[in-house]
């Protein structure tokens, strides 16, 4: 038994070694996944939906103070913009979630108690409405201090400017009333995503895409093992057929696991990606690696040459990734597409990972998804074993 296990490990080790020695795999395994994680993170990550552009005069103390107050508001990052046209352009293209226009003379207006209008630019969505609420509250808070100072000035014959600091100190000592804002309905997703780290979304979506894709790519190595006659030669040794089959399957599995561990470890250490509950994530990844192994074995048994398998593998990997929510989050899928998605292992894996990472789920929260993935693995590995056994012995 131990001898058979050692042989399985040996065959798997050689398959991994051969896979890693293929130069083209270095790019797809090591470079491309991280490049996409970084790209997605830079494009969409890091407070997606919470960046607020601000156009304000540098020499206006009140305007600067308002910008500072907005910047310290929870969940909002203020981006200084030079002029109104640029601000409109960035907001309309979705690069910013909203923008405030603070015209010149804001400080003078505050001190004089004159009416003053601050512009707000937003896209027609709930995120912009939420931002508008925050901006209103911050502006009102600032105006309240100035209003109090103005009122005190009327009663004491002191100047408004002298009393603003005093009013601010009094304001700080008073109990505050805060209104919490929560977007509901269509923008739950934006709120959920906004809680993610900059690279979290990209890393989790690319994990399953690349594990599956890399595993399918490794089917070419399996075909080569058959083509070279090495698999047949293995059969001429005292090593039993089930051990050889297990070793060849093990080779695909360690390739898939290697890819998964690489993405998880490097993104966790290098980009601070949160992978959620370790046990739940581990079980999920292991099951998905088994599914990928089964798919790779089927491909490696059905096709006769490695270029056929590589082409089909990339195509299949990308199509399943698209259908399974590894490129566009499943939450954005229309109902009909969601039904289709449920036929892909990616969809179940992505759903489970969303529960684990975004909603702090544990293994008990993803039991159904894990069970379905286990079913995928059993079926694919069973079919693959049958096909490969037939391919090697006929």
């Amino acid at each position: 038994m131990m001898g058979a296990l050692r042989t399985v490990v040996q065959i798997s080790r050689v398959e991994l070694l051969r896979f890693l020695r293929e130069r083209s795999n270095v790019f797809f395994v090591f470079v491309l996944p991280l490049a996409l994680v970084v790209f997605i993170g830079l494009q969409f990550g890091g407070g997606m939906g919470t960046q607020l552009g601000a156009v304000a005069a540098d020499d206006d103390a009140a305007a600067s103070e308002l910008v500072d107050r907005l910047d310290t508001a929870e969940g909002i990052e203020v981006v200084p913009i030079d002029d109104e046209d640029e601000l409109r352009s960035l907001v309309s293209r979705g690069n910013l979630s909203g923008g405030v226009l603070i015209p010149d003379g804001y400080e003078d207006a505050l001190r004089s108690g004159a009416t003053f209008e601050i512009g707000f630019l937003g896209r027609p969505d709930a995120t912009a409405q939420s931002l508008r609420t925050v901006v209103d509250a911050v502006v009102a808070d600032q105006a309240a201090i100035t209003g109090a100072a103005s009122l005190a000035a009327d009663a004491t014959d002191q100047s408004v400017a002298d009393l603003i600091d005093l009013a601010a100190q009094v304001r700080e000592g008073m109990p505050g009333v805060t209104v919490s804002t929560e977007a509901v309905g269509g923008d739950e997703l934006a709120q959920e995503f906004s809680a993610l780290g900059q690279f979290d979304l990209g890393a989790s979506s690319q994990l399953f895409l690349f594990v599956f894709l890399t595993s399918l790519a490794s089917s070419a190595a399996l075909i080569q093992t058959r083509q070279f006659g090495v698999a047949t030669r293995m059969l001429s040794t005292p090593t039993r057929l089930p051990v050889i089959l297990a070793g060849l399957a093990g080779g695909r599995f360690v390739v898939a696991l290697f890819q998964a561990l690489y993405i998880i470890v490097v993104t966790a250490l290098g980009f601070g990606v949160d992978w959620g509950d370790p046990l739940a994530t581990s079980v999920l990844v292991l099951l998905f690696c088994l599914v990928s192994t089964g798919a790779a074995m089927v491909l490696g048994s059905v096709f006769r040459n490695d270029s056929q398998a590589s082409g089909a593998g990339v195509g299949l990997g990308l199509v399943l990734a698209v259908l399974g929510g590894s490129m566009i989050p499943l939450e954005l899928f229309p109902a009909g597409m969601l039904v289709v998605a449920r036929f892909t292992p990616h969809a179940w894996a992505n759903t489970a990972m969303a529960e684990i990472v975004r909603r702090d789920g544990g293994i008990a929260d993803v039991v159904m998804e894990l069970t379905v993935l286990a079913g995928f693995a059993v079926v694919l590995l069973g079919v693959a074993t049958f096909l490969l056994r037939r391919a090697l012995t006929r």
Partner: protein, 312 residues
């Protein structure tokens, strides 16, 4: 000598194709047995059954007294297979390839390391042991292919056309290696469609055609099968097929064949038949440009037995 390998009534079909039909032969300890036949004669199918890769439809294979088959692990330990195709990983080095298969043969660590070094020495790849096999010449790959087969010191080494596609220098090196193995007491089963290899290496030769063993014996015994006949080779200019047809009906000619522009005739006695052969060719659209008379060899035996040349 006791029999190391015994094949009795081997049969194997693939669909409607009867690849092997009732093949029986044996190989003694320390003997080199040649299985000679053209491409598609059934040699590789026989090898597959003897190496335990295929179950025969009928008949049985015994190696060192143990029944051979796909699940016969013990019998497989006594057999080393050198397949016709290069069954090596080109992206692994020679040492890694040998080490990998040594593990599959179940060699323990100490024996594995010793045998890998010894085999590298025997096949002359010690200096290139760390280089990837894909960078080797064709001859070096062939030698590595052979080395893997003898890693575990089998009692019987099966070489399936090991010189196909090899340059003359490497081919000679391979033949010398096989001669050495035989003198070391290993039984060798050697398949080829090169008559000169079979004549050089083999103690006994089995001639196989269309899945059937048509004759076997030592070279002397096989040549003796066609009696005191001579081979007449008529080099022709013109319609060589017509010349062959004309020769075939000359009295005393037992078989004919065409090799490029030459008609090869097996005749009972060359001297009295030569004028009739020349006259027969002269009556066709061909002219004779050269004549050669020699004693028969294994190739002529094959021609005599099957009516066709080994290369057909």
């Amino acid at each position: 000598m006791s029999d190391l390998l015994t094949c009795v009534g081997l049969e194997r079909s693939f669909g409607d194709l009867k690849a092997v039909q009732g093949v029986s032969f044996s190989v003694a300890v320390g003997e080199t047995y040649g299985l000679l036949g053209p491409n598609g004669a059934g040699k590789t199918t026989c090898i597959s059954m003897i190496a335990g890769l295929l179950d025969p439809d009928a008949g049985e294979v015994t190696v060192a007294g143990q029944a051979m088959g796909p699940r016969a692990s013990a019998a497989k330990n006594d057999v080393g297979l050198v397949p016709q195709e290069l069954a090596i990983y080109p992206d692994l080095s020679a040492r890694e390839n040998l080490d990998f298969f040594a593990r599959l043969y179940g060699l323990d660590t100490a024996r594995r390391k010793r045998r890998v070094d010894e085999v590298l020495e025997v096949i002359g790849l010690t200096d290139r042991a760390g280089d990837r096999a894909g960078t080797y010449s064709g001859g070096m790959k062939r030698r590595l292919n052979i080395g893997i087969g003898m890693l575990h010191e089998p009692k019987l080494l099966i070489l399936d056309e090991p010189t196909v596609g090899v340059d003359p220098q490497s081919r000679n090196a391979i033949l010398e290696s096989v001669e050495t193995l035989a003198t070391d007491g290993m039984g060798v089963l050697y398949t080829t469609h090169y008559m000169e290899e079979a004549e050089r290496l083999c103690d006994r030769i089995g001639i196989i055609d269309q899945g059937t063993l048509v004759a076997e014996g030592t070279r002397r015994e096989l040549v003796g099968m066609i009696g005191e006949q001579d081979v007449v080779r008529l080099k022709t200019v013109g319609d060589v097929q017509a010349a062959e047809a004309a020769c075939a009906v000359v009295e005393g000619v037992s078989s004919t064949d065409v090799e490029e522009d030459t008609v090869v005739c097996l005749v009972d006695e060359a001297a009295p038949r030569l004028p009739a052969l020349l006259a027969a060719v002269g009556a066709t659209d061909a002219d004779v440009s050269g004549v050669e008379v020699r004693e028969p060899d294994i190739e002529d035996v094959f021609l005599h037995l099957t009516g066709k040349a080994l290369r057909d």
